[in-house]
């Protein structure tokens, strides 16, 4: 006989996801029945993110599982889910101004952001490969639509199509890998796989896990699988690019960590040489190509690839401290990258012609505060002290050195030096070149100002006083080891 029941605790566990999903549907209705009230839509979406975040943080992180071990509530999931929800909230704040100025403001934008966040939460908190896969698909489909949101623009269409085709291909790999894993273990549940230890078929185990890793490598854009990223980041609406670059990376890395370290702890040492190679190649290729970019959005896209390489060091190390470093860096990366894209979004202008370095010439005189913020974000991305970019990198690099990965860190440090060149180029243009033409920017609206301030504050706070958050990250990763 079937032994199955649902208890209220299951629903309690899923409250953040349920709030987000219901909120997303509510926003669809707002768009349909309360046409065009943009401010209401924006603040509703923001409120839903805040409610979901507070519900998430109020949950006990006891490692309780729900719905027949489909999801797990632990500090690891909470940490990355919080990163996702904060990123979503900031994107909501930044989005309205951008969409209104392009005369294509629709409620579906917020709705899809919420659906994407639901997907990421399932990826991060899911304990079953099927839930992780469905979460990833929910995220991906929402993102395909968001990338092609400006359906009358050729760039946007191109980006969406490329992302859809390659993303679907990657999903195929992932699903095929899950099927093989099921073939060798007879289950897709990470908990059961973990307790089972050795599979029935080692061949299928390796094929399955390799295919799963290929799927995730596509999503975080490790180097042989990074081809889609620059065009997609360039063609997507700028707030969406910021959202994709930060939260998606966090969620995909988190799911990868959970599958690798929680589900298959015995294999970590075996993967090490491969991860070492991927990490080194990814950061080098990202940085070297970023050097040659003249378009700021493209430059940030290649820098996102390089950062995936730095983060990969944490996976290569394969210890708790390495993973903790990744978690902390993902948190910091959220603020510095969304901040940088927020400034790009402000300066690029309504027709999006002002994206090259030349158009940043002399902007510091007219917009001292925003230029200062951009300087801070560029310093943070390059890894200068007193910013979160430094503390995060420092933590990951020292961990790796302690574990004996000296050469990898030599490569990483050299790469950071290369990256200083292109990050500082923006600053040099803003402060040291003469202003070429007078351009009036409409003043930044309050929500965007708030978002930018939050980013600046967080970058500085995490850079100067990282202690609490590093401790939190260390506690969080102990849940998956």
């Amino acid at each position: 006989m079937i032994d199955f029941q649902i208890v209220p605790a299951d629903f309690y566990l899923l409250l953040p996801e349920m709030v987000l999903s219901v909120g997303a549907m509510l926003l669809l209705f707002l768009e349909l029945f309360l046409k065009g009230n943009k401010t209401v839509q924006q603040w509703t979406a923001f409120a839903i993110f805040v409610v979901a975040l507070s519900l998430l943080l109020s949950q006990e992180s006891s490692g309780a599982t729900g719905f027949g071990m489909m999801v797990r509530s632990d500090l690891f999931g909470q940490f990355i889910s919080a990163v996702v929800l904060i990123g979503g909230g900031l994107t909501v704040l930044l989005g309205k101004e951008y969409l209104v100025s392009r005369e294509w403001h629709r409620g579906e934008y917020y709705s899809l952001l919420l659906f994407a966040s639901v997907g990421m939460l399932f990826m991060v908190r899911g304990l079953d490969l099927l839930v992780i896969f469905l979460g990833l698909e929910l995220l991906s489909i929402s993102l395909y639509i968001l990338v092609g949101y400006f359906r009358d623009r050729l760039f946007s269409n191109e980006a969406a199509l490329k992302y859809l085709l390659l993303g679907a291909f990657a999903s195929g790999f992932l699903l095929y890998g899950i099927a093989y894993t099921y073939g060798s273990y007879g289950t897709t549940n990470l908990n059961e796989i973990r307790t089972m230890g050795s599979p029935e078929s080692m061949t299928f185990h390796w094929i399955g896990l390799s295919l799963i890793l290929v799927g995730f490598s596509f999503k975080v854009a490790l180097v042989p699988f990074h081809m889609w990223l620059p065009d997609v980041y360039q063609g997507a609406p700028t707030p969406v690019t910021g959202f994709m670059a930060t939260t998606t990376k966090a969620a995909a890395f988190a799911a990868m960590l959970r599958i690798l370290f929680y589900g298959f702890p015995a294999d970590i040492a075996e993967w090490m040489p491969l991860f070492w190679f991927l990490s080194a190649v990814t950061m080098t290729v990202g940085n070297v190509i970023a050097l040659q970019q003249s378009n700021l959005k493209r430059m940030l896209a290649y820098s996102a690839i390089a950062h995936a390489g730095y983060l990969m060091i944490g996976v290569t190390v394969g210890t708790e401290t390495g993973a903790a470093g990744m978690l902390f860096y993902l948190l910091g990366y959220l603020f510095m990258n969304i901040g940088a894209f927020a400034v790009v979004q402000y300066f690029e202008g309504k027709d999006e012609t002002r994206l090259d370095f030349e158009s940043y010439a002399g902007l510091a005189k007219k917009h001292p505060l925003i230029s200062l913020a951009m300087t801070l974000f560029m310093f943070a991305l390059a890894g200068f002290p007193l910013t979160v970019g430094f503390t995060g990198k420092f933590y990951i690099f020292t961990t790796a050195i302690n574990q004996g990965f000296v050469w990898l860190i030599v490569i990483a440090v050299l790469n950071s030096l290369i990256s200083v060149y292109y990050y500082l180029r923006v600053v040099i243009y803003m402060y040291m070149k003469p202003l070429e033409e007078e351009i009036e920017f409409s003043p930044m609206e309050l929500p965007a100002k708030v978002a930018l301030t939050v980013c600046v504050y967080a970058v500085l706070h995490l850079g100067v006083l990282p202690g609490n958050f590093i401790t939190l990250a260390r506690e969080a990763v102990s849940a998956i080891f």
């Binding site: 649902i6 579906e108 899809l112 469905l134 929910l138 639509i145 061949t203």
Partner: protein, 167 residues
């Protein structure tokens, strides 16, 4: 009997799948894909996965192929240009890599053939509609509900991307 049927369906699937890629008229590709999907449904039947076999025909061979044909007619492409020429060095590289890949997979899997046989034996009765219902609506309840969210997002996306005259 089962074994020979398996080889018939498998050959059909592989040959028609190759036709999908090789033929230069997109409509022919689509029709070949239908044959591939039908052969796969046959293989599912042999594995006693009756529900999957029926779904394969209703959803894939029926509905999704209609969509494919619509897209082909929507774009109305002519015959595809030949993109692989034998003189191109890339063709050689691609061919060599593909052969190496197939060989690798074959050598990996050929060692586990007996294992596949065991799996095939043990799935008896597993694929009936009743058994799928019993697991889908109890153990896999959450993935089932996430799937509905997925379908909703797909609906929103389809309308948002393709509807003319959105206000």
């Amino acid at each position: 009997m089962t074994e020979s049927l398996f080889f018939i369906f498998a050959t059909m699937a592989i040959v028609s799948a190759l036709t999908v890629v090789v033929t230069r008229n997109p409509i022919y590709s689509a029709v070949s894909l239908v044959i591939t999907l039908f052969s796969l449904a046959g293989i599912f039947l042999l594995l006693e996965a009756y529900f999957l076999a029926v779904v394969q025909i209703i959803i894939y061979a029926g509905a999704i192929m209609v969509l494919f044909l619509f897209v082909i007619m929507l774009l109305n492409p002519g015959k595809e240009a030949k993109f692989l020429s034998l003189t191109d060095p890339r063709t050689l590289i691609v061919t060599l890599l593909s052969i190496a890949f197939i060989g690798m997979i074959f050598s990996l899997v050929s060692g586990s053939v007996n294992y596949i046989g065991e799996v095939m034996g043990s799935v008896e009765e597993l694929g009936t509609t009743r058994n799928i219902g019993l697991t889908l609506f109890t153990k896999y309840l959450l993935p089932f509900e996430i799937a509905s969210l997925l379908l909703l997002v797909a609906l929103v996306g389809a309308v948002l991307m393709t509807k003319r005259n959105l206000r």
